[in-house]
């Protein structure tokens, strides 16, 4: 009597334990309500999907990262065996904890038959969010990505055409292995490296799973979806899998420490990122009498905003620019990101001391320093009144270094114009994960873009709302 009871309790607690991170994921994901309707909108699984799943299931795996201390599960994702080798392709973000904290975490795979075994991390590509692990089992040869070892010319991959049917496989939310159908919709250029747009469901837990064409060709690897959209999902193109596979062999010895490798990849990425951002000078926009620098490109999007209701005693217009892509390094560290903001406040009815209170409120509480983070150091700051061009600014720069990655820093610059008691221009640029030289280069260029146009001291009222688009 007692024993089955206990078993039941055990099983229940186990289920509770396993589904906990997934539940956390669910609650953090408001549009989940729409998921069933979205799923039913997609037509019944076609026979293609049936056939694909039947032949793919042998090589489809679930990958789990577990805590060494207590054996409890910390994150789950998917992966797939390449050809007849023992190499498994997955996302870097699925196994990032093993790469960064090998003393605390270890990995495990589970196949569609429920068998499990250890995994061994061989190579990572942080920028494209890919990783390769080795297991003690061979693939049946269903998923193939043609590649040649070393630096030789890689064989060409089949190209995809827009609207083509694609199939994503994986284990969403740790519920069980699934296959879902969707369509290919071109390349997204929002990041610094290409991602394929897949209009189909990709849910947490399917990360690292394969995405194949109807004839079984690997098109890419499930990586992400947009929470603010529906069925807007992204794949890592197969070409990056090819490039990573070229650097890995089945019998290689894995590196002992991945941190320097990740650091090196982040450094390479920031060099490309800053060069791309600065390949032409910032474009200059007008806010009242002030000129402000912005960067609008495929990677950086800007949004304008203006609050000029006639009831208010002052108006504020702002331009926010933000890079849409960031590099995932670990749960609490995303880097390779730039945001900038300009705010232009203009006094209407306030006393100039009152207006100073307003600008102080805007200027304050923008930068913090914390000694409690394991990823970045406390901020070191310098502040001063700086005059250049035709403008005088109160400027503050804070820099933080990454504990685990040499030569990588975060920067924040905030400025406030100090030349007018009736208007104030406040600017901010936040740069994450760059070298010191690149950080200061961006800051200098940004500062140089801020100016006051003489002869336009009395702007028309309509100028206030210029930033609105």
């Amino acid at each position: 009597m007692n024993i089955p009871h206990r078993l039941l309790a055990c099983a229940l607690s186990l289920v509770g334990c396993i589904s906990f991170p997934v539940l956390a994921q669910l609650s953090a994901n408001p549009p989940i309500d729409s998921a069933p309707t979205a799923a039913s909108a997609v037509s019944q699984p076609s026979s293609t999907a049936q056939q694909l799943y039947a032949s793919a299931q042998q090589d489809l795996l679930q990958l789990r990262v577990l805590l060494k201390n207590g054996n409890s599960q910390s994150s789950v994702g998917s992966g797939f065996l390449i050809g007849t080798s023992n190499l498994v392709v997955t996302n870097f973000h699925v196994v990032s904890q093993i790469a960064l904290e090998p003393d605390t975490y270890f990995g495990e795979y589970k196949d569609t038959q429920g068998k499990s075994g250890a995994i061994e991390l061989l190579a990572v590509d942080v920028l494209h969010d890919l990783a390769i692990v080795r297991i003690a089992r061979q693939g049946t040869g269903f998923f193939t990505v043609p590649h040649t070892l070393g630096d030789a010319q890689q064989p060409a991959l089949e190209s995809l055409s827009q609207g083509e049917k694609l199939y994503s496989l994986g284990n969403p939310l740790d519920l069980g292995f699934t296959i879902s159908e969707g369509t290919y919709n071109g390349i997204s250029a929002r990041g610094f490296s290409d991602q394929l747009m897949f209009t189909g469901p990709v849910n947490p837990g399917m990360s690292g799973g394969p995405n194949v064409t109807a004839d079984g060709q690997v098109a890419g690897v499930n990586v992400a979806h947009r929470r603010d959209g529906e069925l807007v999902s992204f794949l890592v193109p197969a070409i990056y899998v090819q490039q990573l596979l070229a650097r890995v062999s089945s019998d290689m010895t894995p590196p002992t420490d991945f941190k320097p490798i990740i650091g090196e990849q982040l450094l390479q990425h920031q060099a490309v990122m800053v060069d791309t951002l600065l390949d032409k000078p910032f474009s200059i926009k007008q806010l009242g009498p002030y000129a402000v620098p912005v960067r609008e490109s495929d990677q950086v999007r800007c949004w304008g905003n203006s609050d000029s209701s006639s009831k208010k005693a002052y108006t504020v217009a702002s331009i926010n620019c933000s890079m849409e892509a960031a590099i995932f390094v670990s749960g609490d560290l995303q880097t390779g990101h730039v945001t900038m903001r300009h705010q232009y406040a203009r006094n209407r009815k306030l006393n100039s001391l009152q207006f100073a209170q307003l600008t102080s409120k805007m200027f304050g509480s923008q930068v913090y320093s914390t000694a409690k983070s394991d990823t970045i150091t406390p901020a070191a700051c310098t502040e001063s009144f700086v005059a250049h061009n035709a403008i005088s600014l109160r400027a503050l720069v804070c820099a933080e270094a990454y504990h685990k990655f040499k030569d990588l820093y975060d920067f924040t610059l905030i400025t406030a114009s100090t030349d007018d008691s009736q208007m104030s221009l406040q600017s901010m640029i936040n740069i994450q994960g760059v070298s010191y030289a690149n950080g200061t280069r961006l800051i200098e260029q940004f500062l140089q873009g801020i100016d006051r146009r003489t002869g336009q001291d009395k702007p028309a009222a309509s100028n206030d709302g210029e930033a609105a688009q």
Binding site: P21, V22, L23, A24, V65, L67, S74, S75, H93, Q97, E101, Y105, G205, S207, V223, H225, R226, R227, W303, K312, A325, S330, G331, K349, S352, L353, Q354, A356, L358, T359, S360, V367, Y368, S369, A371, K372, D374, T377, P378, A379, A380, C381, T382, S384, F385, S392, R394, A395, L396, V397, C398, A401, H403, K404, T418, S421, S424, Y436, T440, E444
Partner: protein, 344 residues
């Protein structure tokens, strides 16, 4: 023989509880009812001490073989030659013995402004508070608030001041027999006004002269202003030892500052409670000059050694990794899906 002797019973603080005027020697002291001075102290003997003249015609106090004896400045002896400034301890009883020829201390100047009591200081305090409250509300009133906002602000400030001085008045009444509510209200109003004015003055000076330190350390002057206010409250409530009180309050203020600084340092690695000067003022209030962009960039470059110094050593990195594991676990749900970006 007719001898006038005054025996005074004192509190541990040195205040007189009883003063006995005696004309006959010897004077017998103890718990028994056949004494001249009857003590209610169980730590004294029935016949504890006697005050008399010795052969040299000196006035002495002698122990009548009691168990606890007589001590003066922590030294116990069989008898003492009486000194008007000394305190003799019999059990828990403190006695001072003086004769009419004792020279009392000179008269002290009265600094108490006796007219400044009651309604007058209370009114002055209220006027000060209302002025200050209206001024600060007006300064931070960026949305052209209604009258009710101002009234609410005033009610809360005045309410606090009234409650606070009421508390001190009860305290005064208890220890001094005199409430002095008006004075306490005046003191708390001055204190609050001081806090508020320092807030504006320090940030204004910091901005005008580019004295960033003033903007970084805002809490400590406020702690010292509060300590000063407390000092005047305590004095009004009847504290008679200003020297010692000053030392206590200074120590308290220093401890307070130290705690706040330590807390700040542990949380942010900076001693100051603000990371940077954020209070801005109109250009007319600025006196310091600008530096060039080149100089500023040089300042930024100089930061690099400081930031690098903040990096943890590679030797203790492993320790850090272990302690951070719980954080990583709780964020595991998020790590399943990297892209959570959103846009307006």
């Amino acid at each position: 023989m007719n001898h006038l002797v005054f025996v005074e019973q004192l509190t541990p603080d040195g205040e007189v509880i009883h003063r006995h005027k005696l004309t006959q020697l010897p004077i017998r002291i103890g718990r028994a009812y056949d004494n001249d001075i009857i003590l209610d102290d169980p730590h004294t003997a029935a016949h504890h001490a006697r005050i008399e003249h010795n052969q040299l015609d000196e006035l002495i106090i002698s122990d009548l073989d009691s168990f606890n004896g007589i001590t003066r400045a922590n030294s116990r002896q069989g008898f003492f030659v009486v000194d008007g400034d000394a305190i003799y301890r019999l059990g828990h009883t403190r006695l001072r013995i003086r004769t009419p020829d004792y020279q009392v201390a000179a008269e002290q100047t009265d600094f108490t402004n006796h007219r400044w009591e009651g309604v007058l200081p209370a009114l002055a305090g209220l006027v000060l508070l209302v002025t200050m409250g209206l001024l600060t509300t007006w300064l931070s009133d960026l949305n052209q608030g209604t009258l009710s906002k101002y009234l609410l602000e005033l009610v809360s400030v005045v309410g606090f001041a009234l409650g606070w001085s009421g508390f001190w008045a009860v305290f005064s009444k208890l220890f001094n027999g005199q409430a002095r509510f008006g004075r306490h209200l005046f003191i708390v109003s001055l204190g609050l006004t001081g806090l508020e004015l320092w807030d504006y003055l320090s940030s204004m000076l910091a901005y005008a002269f580019s004295w960033e330190t003033l903007a970084h350390f805002t809490v400590h002057p406020l702690i010292f202003i509060s300590a000063t206010t407390l000092y005047f409250h305590m004095r009004t409530a009847g504290n008679k030892r200003p020297g010692r009180l000053k030392l206590y309050l200074l120590a308290l203020a220093l401890v307070g500052s130290g705690i706040s600084m330590t807390k700040q340092y542990q949380a942010t690695n900076h001693l100051g409670d603000a990371l940077y000067l954020s209070q801005l003022y109109p250009p007319a209030l600025r006196i310091s000059s600008d530096i060039s962009l080149g100089e500023f960039m040089a300042d930024i470059n100089a930061l690099q050694t400081q930031v690098d110094g903040n990096r943890k050593d590679t030797t203790d990195k492993d320790e850090t990794v272990t302690t951070s594991s719980s954080v990583a676990t709780s964020s595991a749900g998020a790590s399943i899906d990297a892209n959570s970006s959103s846009q307006p």
